[in-house]
Structure formats: C-alpha cells, structure tokens
C-alpha cells in the first residue's frame, strides 16, 4: 500500500515537473509578453522527437559502429545492447544526456524562430491559426516520417541514468524534478528584473513600448525562441521518462490546451498562479488516469472522455466567473518607490 502510494506520488511529481516547465514557458510567452502561443505543442513535440532521434543514434554509432542493424526496424534489439553498455559507462551517459537536452533546446529554438518569422506581426486570431497550424504540421511530420522518431509506433530512448544504480522511478524523479526546479528558478530571476518589466510593458501597451524606443517585434521574437527552447526541454524529459518517444502522443490537447488551462486557471502573469494551476490539474489528471479502472466497469464508455469534458467545462466556468485566475498577478513592487513610507513619498 505504502509502495503504491509512493509510486503514485513519484508519478504525479514527475508529471507536475514536466508541466511546470511547459506552463513556465507559456507564462513567459503569454502571461508576461502577451503572445498567444497556441502552438506550444510544436516546441514540446520538437524536443521529444529529437530525443527519439539523437541520443539513441549517437550511442548506436559509438557503441556498435560496425552493426548491420537498421536503427528504426531493429530498435528494441539495439536499445537492449546500448542500455547494457550505458549502465557501465557514466561518462558516455552524461555526455548523451547533455547532448539530448541541448539538442532539444536548439530544436525548440529553431522551431520557435521558424514559426514566428512570418507570424509575429499578425493579429491575435491569425497568429493563433498560424501557430496551431505549425504545431499540427510538426506532429504530422513526426507521426509519418519514420527515420525521425519511428512514426506512429514510436522509438526507444536509451536509459541515460542507468549507471546511478537507482530505481528507474527515482532516476527520473531526480532528473525531471531537478530540471523543473532549475527552470522555475531561472525564470523567476529573469522575470523579476527590468527585463520582466519590459515584457509586461509590451503586453500592456505595444505602442507605449515602441514610443520609448523598444524594438517590440524583435523582443517578441526572442521571447518566442527562448520560450520554445524551454518548452522543448519538457518534451525531451517526457521522452526520457517514458523511455519511448511516441510521436502521435504530442497532441495539441495534451501539450497546448492543458498548459493553457493550467495557466489561465492559476492566473496569467503570476508565477505562484502558474504553479497552483499546474498542480491542481496535473493531480486531477494523473489520479483519473491511474484510478480510472475503478470507475470503468460502471459506465459504457472510456473515463478519459469524461475527464476531458469535465475539465473543458471547468475551464469555461473559470473564464466566465474568475477570468483573472485563482492567484491573480500582483502589481509590481519596485525598490525605492513602493517600499517608501507615505511621509517619505510626500517629501519627494
């Protein structure tokens, strides 16, 4: 019983970290800068696909240079052999892990750049269409082009933390949780700085930001590129955690709509809100996914749909009655202005 509980806890924590990275990226793009990024899934999918493509193939080339096996078709055999070697070779494992994460970030950034280049000047609704279309295009390519990540069947990801000797759950908990924490901390420092205030200024009034000499389009583009790189890390980690990259799984529901729901529920532009929103929805979703077998015999359809319906309706209700979210964004406090007492202000 305790063991089951622990396993559920670890599973929920890992998904929480994954989604925290994605919502953090979205909060940076939408909450702070006001770019309605409805193509969030393309960055996540890009990161995941490169995780299916890069580390396994590198390890295959380094460990079995003379092998006649086909990487995609004989993937399970190759994975078994690679994992045996990686379990004894910490240096190679760490190198592969670093390459994977950096590769995912690079792919996310490139995809973010390509998606943004034609679209960033467009109106919100056209921008939204272009980004959704782009995400769909990335998914279609990933789903069909087998050399990339195995097509619809997916492809294995080498276990790059096997050398630690810990159980698989613990390895992933440390890796995913650790990176999630790092992303949140970096993001906090980045946005609680003049840079963060610049982004909010662009969100509140583009014209005012242009008037004080800011290159708004350029900054928005940078935000899309950096945000996509962050989101791609989540994609890479999800592939590493599951041990497989299954391209059809990176749908716009899972990786665009749910992060949006989390952010809007928690409160856009507020870090605590993003965390709270993510936590509540991830816990609900994982618990439904884990315990759905308990309810399943009583209803003539799959419980997953009931959960989707309920959360979709919940989203609409939140938008109607509490559009600013559970923990709304607070006004910025600037040192030297807001921490002065009233007497001091009068003197000035």
């Amino acid at each position: 019983m305790v063991l089951v509980f622990l396993q559920v806890l670890i599973d929920v924590t890992i998904f929480l970290s994954l989604y925290t990275i994605v919502t953090t990226a979205l909060n940076y793009q939408y909450g702070y800068t006001g770019i309605p990024n409805f193509g969030l899934a393309f960055a996540v999918a890009g990161g995941a696909y490169i995780t299916g493509f890069l580390p396994g193939r590198l390890a295959f080339l380094l460990i079995m240079p003379d092998s006649k096996l086909d990487y995609v078709k004989d993937n399970p055999t190759i994975m078994t052999q690679i994992n045996m070697v990686l379990g004894k070779d910490p240096m190679l494992s760490i190198m592969l892990l670093v390459v994977t994460i950096l590769g995912a970030m690079a792919v996310g950034a490139i995809l973010g750049f390509i998606a943004t280049m034609p679209a960033i000047r467009l109106r919100a609704d056209f921008l939204m269409m272009t980004l959704i279309a782009f995400a769909e295009a990335v998914r279609i390519i990933g789903m069909n082009y087998e050399p990339l990540a195995g097509g619809t069947l997916g492809i294995g990801v080498p276990r790059m933390l096997k050398w630690t000797g810990l159980s698989a759950d613990l390895q992933n908990l440390i890796l995913v949780g650790g990176l999630g924490l790092i992303v949140v901390i970096i993001n906090w420092f980045m946005l609680h700085s003049p840079y963060g205030r610049l982004l909010r200024a662009i969100r509140e009034s583009e014209d005012a930001a242009i008037a004080v000499g800011k290159d708004v389009n350029r900054i928005r583009m940078e935000v899309m590129v950096v945000g996509s790189a962050i989101a791609a890390v989540a994609g890479a980690l999800s592939g590493i955690y599951i041990g497989n990259v299954i391209p059809p799984a990176y749908t716009r529901y899972d990786w665009t709509f749910w992060p949006w729901l989390m952010l809007m529920l928690g409160g856009r532009g507020s870090e605590m809100g993003a965390l709270a929103g993510t936590a509540s929805i991830v816990v609900i979703r994982r618990l439904v996914a884990i315990y759905k077998h308990g309810i399943q015999p009583f209803i003539p359809f799959d419980v997953v749909w009931l959960e989707r319906m309920a959360l979709g309706i919940a989203f609409l209700i939140v938008m109607i009655f509490k559009p600013e979210g559970l923990l709304p964004e607070r006004p910025i406090k600037i040192k030297g202005i807001h921490d002065l007492s009233e007497d001091e202000l009068k003197e000035e």
Partner: protein, 318 residues
C-alpha cells in the same frame, strides 16, 4: 481502391463540396462574432454521428438524417453562442479569452462524441471508429447519391443564403453588423439577434456537411480536428470577408489536397516509410501559412483591389 484519375477527382470534388458548406458557415460566424470558431469541424462531426445512428441503429435511409442533423447542429450552434460566446462577451472577457473559449468547446464536444462512439459500440455493437457508410448510399441515375445530392444542396443553400443576404431586410441588418457592429447597433439593429441567426445557419450547414460526410469518406469521432485545418485554409485562401470566396477557397484546397497528393504519390510513392498521402494535411497548412504571409486578405483581396481601381482609377494611379 485502384487508382484512376476519375475516382481521385470524384473524391476531391465531393470533399471540396462538403468543405464548402463548412467554410461558408465558418466565414459567416467569423464575420458576425469576430472570432474563429474552433469547434466548427467538430460541429460537422456531430452530424456524422447522427447519420451513423440513423443508418446503423435505426436502419433507415442515411438521407433521413439530413433534416435532423441540420436542426440538431443548428441548435448546438445557437447554444454555443448563447452559452459561451455571448456570456463571455457580456462578462467583459478580452478577445483572447473568446478565442480560447471555442477551443474549450471543441474539446468538450470531441469528448462528448467519443462518449457517443463508445456507447454505440458497447450497446448497439455498431462500429463507430474509422467507419464508412458508402454501402448505405442510394443510386441516382446510376451514380452514387451523394455525388448529386451534395452539389445540389450547396447550390440551393447558397442561392437561399444570397437571397436572404441581399434581398431581405434582415440580410441588410446582417451585412451592417458585419461591416461595423457598433454602428449597426446605434442604428437600431439588434446585433445579438443577427449573431444568433448566423450561428444557427452556421450550425445547420455544418450539420448538413457532416451528415453527408460518412457516405463517402472514412469517419471518426476525431474528424473535426482534421477538418478545422482545411476549413481555416480554405477560409483564409478565399478571403475571410466574403461568402463566395469561401466556396472558391474550398474547391482550391479540396482539389489540391485530395487530387494533388493522389497524383503526386504516383510519382513519389513513399516518404520516410509511409505513403505520401499520409502527409496530406501539410497541403492546407502550407497554403495557410503562405497566404497569411503574402496576401492576408486572400483571393477576395484581389477582387476588392480590382473593384477599387474600377471605381476610382485616377486616385489609385496617383
């Protein structure tokens, strides 16, 4: 099915015709409510399931579902407008929330359709995922019924619609609302009523399109998420401001997507281990992006420029 140019063109023609119904409605609500309706493809998917129920559960002629589907989906359109769009607008929600809200509606509807699909499967043992009802279609003059019914209905609906839009008082109110909702409401036009009617028509057209879809194409509860991409591309390519441009855009998208990929896959049979036609959806996506980049007003934009030049030739030259 063996590859012959005639069959491919038939596929493309029927697909384009059904797409035209959807794009027409999409443009209408886009203009009156000023938001793209993400759930539009899924509206049609509801029609698909009404036809499935009529044909496989009630064992009736699938065309019986046309009026049912029209009414049911039209009612759905009205309820989405009243329950979501109107309510959010009255609550003072910003544009972006309105944009997301129809996405949420899409998710709720898709989930609902999946529940129906599971229910039909469990209770009535009807195959409700990746099904086709081509065998239930009637023969008219030796041709499949849908090949005659779909274009006829499109012509009839467009004619009625044009008459309403350009010859009746309500049509004037509707066009006024499209031009400027604020000005129209100052002049005493009930823009809420106009919106309500446009969502009703939109829903109805989507219902008709969806009801006919399974008679020729493979259908699935998730078909709406595929259709919406085609609808977008057709709508943007034709020009979001015109109803007729929507039809033109639909035919261009339908023909290039279905016929184009089919002919191209004769030359390049496979890419990355699967047949070229698996990448079919990349066609509307590419068209969408290129159109938005180079002519955001679509083909209708050219027509508008042409008209402008005819009225004021000197000004344009100067």
């Amino acid at each position: 099915m063996p590859f012959t140019p005639l069959i491919v063109l038939t596929h493309a023609f029927i697909f384009s015709t059904l797409l035209a119904f959807l794009t027409l409605g999409f443009n209408l609500t886009y203009q009156t409510a000023r938001i793209p309706n993400w759930a539009h493809g899924t509206f049609a998917a509801l029609g698909v399931f009404i036809t499935l129920t009529v044909a496989r559960v009630w064992n009736m002629n699938p065309y019986v579902s046309l009026p049912i589907s029209f009414m049911v989906v039209a009612t759905l359109g009205v309820s989405v407008y009243l329950g979501v769009v109107y309510t959010l607008k009255k609550a003072g929600a910003p544009e972006i929330i309105l944009l997301i809200s129809t996405l949420a509606v899409d998710i709720v509807l898709t989930a609902f359709l999946n529940i129906i699909a599971d229910y039909l499967m469990f209770v009535y043992k009807v195959s409700s995922r990746i099904f086709i009802l081509r065998d239930m279609d009637v023969k008219l003059f030796g041709l499949p019924g849908i090949l005659i019914v779909a274009p006829t209905l499109l012509v009839v609906f467009t004619a009625i619609f044009s008459y309403m839009l350009y010859r009746t008082k309500f049509g004037i109110a509707m066009r006024g609302t499209v031009e400027s909702p604020e000005l129209a409401s100052i002049l005493g036009i009930n823009t809420d009523k106009v919106n309500l009617v446009s969502w009703f028509i939109t829903g109805g057209l989507a219902g008709v399109s969806g009801a006919l879809l399974p008679l020729w194409f493979l259908s699935d509860p998730g078909i709406g998420t595929m259709l919406i991409i085609d609808i977008f591309a057709a709508s943007i390519l034709g020009g979001i401001r015109s109803v007729y441009a929507a039809i033109l855009g639909s035919y261009i998208i339908g023909l290039t997507e279905v016929a184009g990929t089919a002919f191209l896959s004769q030359i390049i049979p496979e890419v990355g281990g699967v047949s070229l036609s698996s990448y079919r959806l990349l066609v509307p996506l590419t068209v969408l992006v290129i159109t938005l980049m180079f002519m955001p007003r679509g083909l209708y934009g050219f027509y508008e420029d042409y008209k402008e030049r005819k009225i004021r030739p000197k000004e344009v030259e100067a």
